[in-house]
Amino acid sequence: MKKTILAIFAILVLVMAGYTVLHFTKEPSTKVSTVTVYVSEDQVFSEPILKDFEKDTGIKFRAVYDTEEAKSTGAMNRLIAEKDNPQADVYWANEPIRAEVLKQKGISESYFSPNARDIPARFKDPDGYWTGFSARARVLVVNNHVKDVPQSILAYTDPRWKGKSVITNPLFGTTTSHIAALFVLWGDKRAKAFMNAMKQNRTAISTNNGESADFVTAGQYDFSLVDSDDAVNRIRQGKSVKMVYPDQGENDTGCFIVPNATVLIKGGRHPKAARKLIDYLLSRETERKLAFADCAQIPLHPGVEIPSELKPIDKIKTMQINYADVAKKMVEIQPFLKTWMGL
């Protein structure tokens, strides 16, 4: 009996070892064109697009995906750590701020894709280091039991919602970018006052946007500022929440838009395939697919078909902001945010 179990065990180990050895030998000898992409967009949304790319072009992709639990910074940390010997060819950022950081650190390279001509200039880096596509809007997700629906992010400081609102940790992700954008737009004094008032209004802090949306869905809080994909996702799941594009009045600041961004990595091993992937991601068809997927992202090309839950980008009053300024401001305000968080 013992010999049998040992034999089974030995065979299993050998099979597993063989499986791993296959990986060792397979990688370098492959003749099929490949592209390595690091992805911060959620895997459930990005992987189908990459698979379509593989099917349409015959170029195989190998991906590293981020996790929300790690605040979508695993890929960024890897890109920075791998700077001297890059493994990635393309970075699919889920917001332009990370792309700006890569530009500043000399990790990315300029590329003007022919497919990006129609995309409005404010969603592209003028030097070509990143190009925006398929955007999320920063919206309020509001529980349906709330009668007086908040229409502005200023609701966070309104005593009516004292202890009834939640916001994602502003040290991470799109919330950091949004806060930094407010600092750029309002100036430090007003933005700091807003943040402090929000704290005094007993706004709860969650770890990520998905969790914020879940809290509101669960009725734990009345509303939260989240990405539009988090809100649409819950609405499509039949949860009792609605989505509000905030600050749409004539004199209001507008809604903060967070496009995805493609980044060409400097020194990547497959530059040709990398450019093809970037062109593919920036195509109208990809934007259409991402609009109809559960992430419900807003196309930046004009005239792309969209589902009924979404507004076209030209019908949303968007915050007029320069993303490079936001990226710089984000670094500047980190000590303030850290203190604000009590760290």
Binding site: H23, E27, T36, Y38, V44, R62, E68, N77, T176
Partner: protein
């Protein structure tokens, strides 16, 4: 000569795999613009807030350690030594939470106790408001981490009980009942196992970030995480991890002081193996009820939540479609890593236990140091060291994942080997040496068979920790080679809850099957050792 040369090779290997990458990070954290500087360490523990976080971490890990010891040790004794029915079933049941990354368990508890969780549908909103408030904070963190780490003292107690000479307990029976035997013979003899489990649980709870972060209880590891994730400042992140290591080294020092004088005996007879030495008699009913209730609350309920969520055939079909390859990869990497871990751990354990080289204490401390370091520090260290054009054959393949596991988890298999080897009387190896057996023959024909059951336990621990790892894997896995836990984590962001739950259930199964095989092998080996 062969012994010294081989063990030196093992030390060099350890240096190369684990110490060098981390050392490069530590050195970088001390250099600013080419000059030595402590600037990165400037903010560590200098503000009141840092001390509060440190206090939170200490409180959380102390409570978790105390609870797991107080409940896990008697539970291990009951399941190993008593005549309670369904002992094997309970053992498997209690191990389940350890098989998943703790974050999954926290999410499962949230699905149950959150304001719109399953409990809300049964008990109403008032009850769930209370449970939800309790879940978010220290009590919730203690509950989740207690359920995850309870198997550690339980299993180590069982493993150590299996190595006690039953004649000692039989002799005790002549003068005392089983309570007296427990107090005066059994517990003192398994004390090294209890201490080891206390240290492991404390380190694991102290370094745990995902559960406190999810349940809103600020702990010290948040500092290192923030430096990585918000600032991309690797130097400050490394500096912020150092206090975690200092606490670990202090623990190790306390352990060495505590256990300096312990001696061990192996069991010589086979027939004693099967006879339960604790007859519960009138205590059986209430103890069985208590164990059942505990299993129900901390294991069955959260797993049931996952099972209920995944109760659709399509979820499993989709799970296999999405993550079938990741599952195979996970099993492959964990098998290979566990085998290497137990091999490396055995020889480092031998080195430490026999004090075979002058640097034995350095080896022991280094392994624990690596175990206590946040995975992100090790991961970035591995990237810095291995990501070059000349070492791409390692970095761009799954070998880098295995190296990461070896760096992080050899401490576990090494420590288990130390305790296993301590139970083999030196006279046995000496007798073989006198008879002319060389060092390798002594290792393979005397020590490995005698420490066999403990080594198998080490293999299983290495397998579990490799399979459930996300921290290191996430940072170093080659593109396209993600493991199942990484796949689950990446799908958790906006993925369907049914799919995620089905993947968790698949992961539990993936660990339990080889675990069962190993348990059968361990039982057989015990016979061999004892006969």
């Amino acid at each position: 000569m062969a012994k010294r040369a081989f063990l030196t090779l093992i030390v060099v290997l350890l240096l190369f795999l684990g110490i060098l990458p981390v050392l490069s990070m530590l050195v970088k954290s001390l250099v600013v613009q080419g000059n030595f500087s402590l600037a990165s360490y400037g903010s560590v523990l200098t503000s009141g807030r840092q001390w509060t976080l440190m206090w939170h971490s200490a409180a959380l890990s102390s409570m978790v350690t105390l609870l797991t010891l107080v409940i896990g040790t008697p539970l291990g004794i009951l399941l190993a030594e008593s005549d309670m029915p369904f002992r094997r079933f309970f053992t498997i049941l209690f191990v389940i939470p350890l098989l998943l990354p703790p974050y999954f368990m926290a999410v499962s508890w949230f699905d149950l106790l959150g304001r719109q969780g399953l409990l809300a549908q049964i008990a109403g909103p008032v009850a769930t408001r209370i449970t939800s408030d309790l879940l978010f904070g220290l009590p919730g963190c203690v509950l989740v981490l207690f359920s995850v780490f309870l198997p550690i003292p339980m299993l180590l107690t069982m493993v150590f009980l299996g190595t006690i000479n039953p004649r000692l307990q039989e002799a005790g029976r002549l003068v005392s009942d089983w309570k007296g035997i427990l107090k005066s013979i059994t517990v003192p003899l398994i004390l090294p196992g209890i201490m080891l489990s206390a240290m492991l649980v404390f380190i694991l709870a102290f370094g745990e970030f995902s559960v406190p972060n999810f349940l809103r209880y600020d702990v010290f590891p948040v500092e290192s995480f923030t430096q990585f994730s918000a600032f991309y400042d690797f130097k400050a992140a490394t500096a912020a991890a150092v206090p975690l290591v200092v606490v670990t080294l202090l623990l190790m020092f306390a352990e060495s002081v505590f256990l300096r004088e312990n001696t061990y005996q192996i069991r010589p007879s086979q027939e004693a193996v099967h006879s339960p030495r604790i007859e519960l008699g009138s205590h059986l009913k209430w103890l069985l009820s208590l164990v059942t209730a505990l299993a129900f609350i901390i294991v069955i309920v959260p797993v049931l939540v996952l099972a209920v969520q995944s109760a659709h055939t399509e979820a499993y079909i989709q799970a296999l479609d999405y993550a079938g390859k990741s599952l195979l990869r996970s099993l492959a990497y964990a098998f290979i890593a566990a085998t290497l871990l137990v091999s490396l751990g055995f020889f480092t354990g031998y080195l430490v236990q026999k004090k075979a080289l002058w640097c034995w204490r350095f080896v022991d401390s280094s392994l624990l140091f690596l175990f206590a370091l946040p995975s992100t520090v090790i991961g970035i260290g591995l990237i810095s060291l291995w990501n070059t054009r000349w070492t791409n054959f390692v970095y761009a393949t799954p070998a880098i994942i295995i190296i990461g596991y070896l760096a992080k988890y050899t401490a576990l298999t090494s420590r288990i080997s130390v305790t296993g080897l301590a139970q083999v009387p030196p006279s046995m190896e000496e007798a073989a040496q006198v008879a002319g057996a060389g060092w390798f023959r002594r290792i393979f024909y005397i020590l490995i068979p005698l420490a066999g059951p403990t080594l198998l336990a080490g293999w299983l621990v290495g397998y579990i920790f490799s399979l459930r790892d996300t921290g290191i894997t996430m940072l170093v896995y080659p593109p396209g080679h993600e493991t199942l836990p990484v796949r689950i984590f990446t799908l958790m962001a906006n993925g369907s809850p049914q799919l995620v739950a089905a993947l968790c259930i698949l992961m539990i199964a993936a660990i339990l099957v080889p675990g069962g095989l190993l348990a059968a092998l361990a039982t057989r080996m015990k016979y061999k050792v004892n006969s």
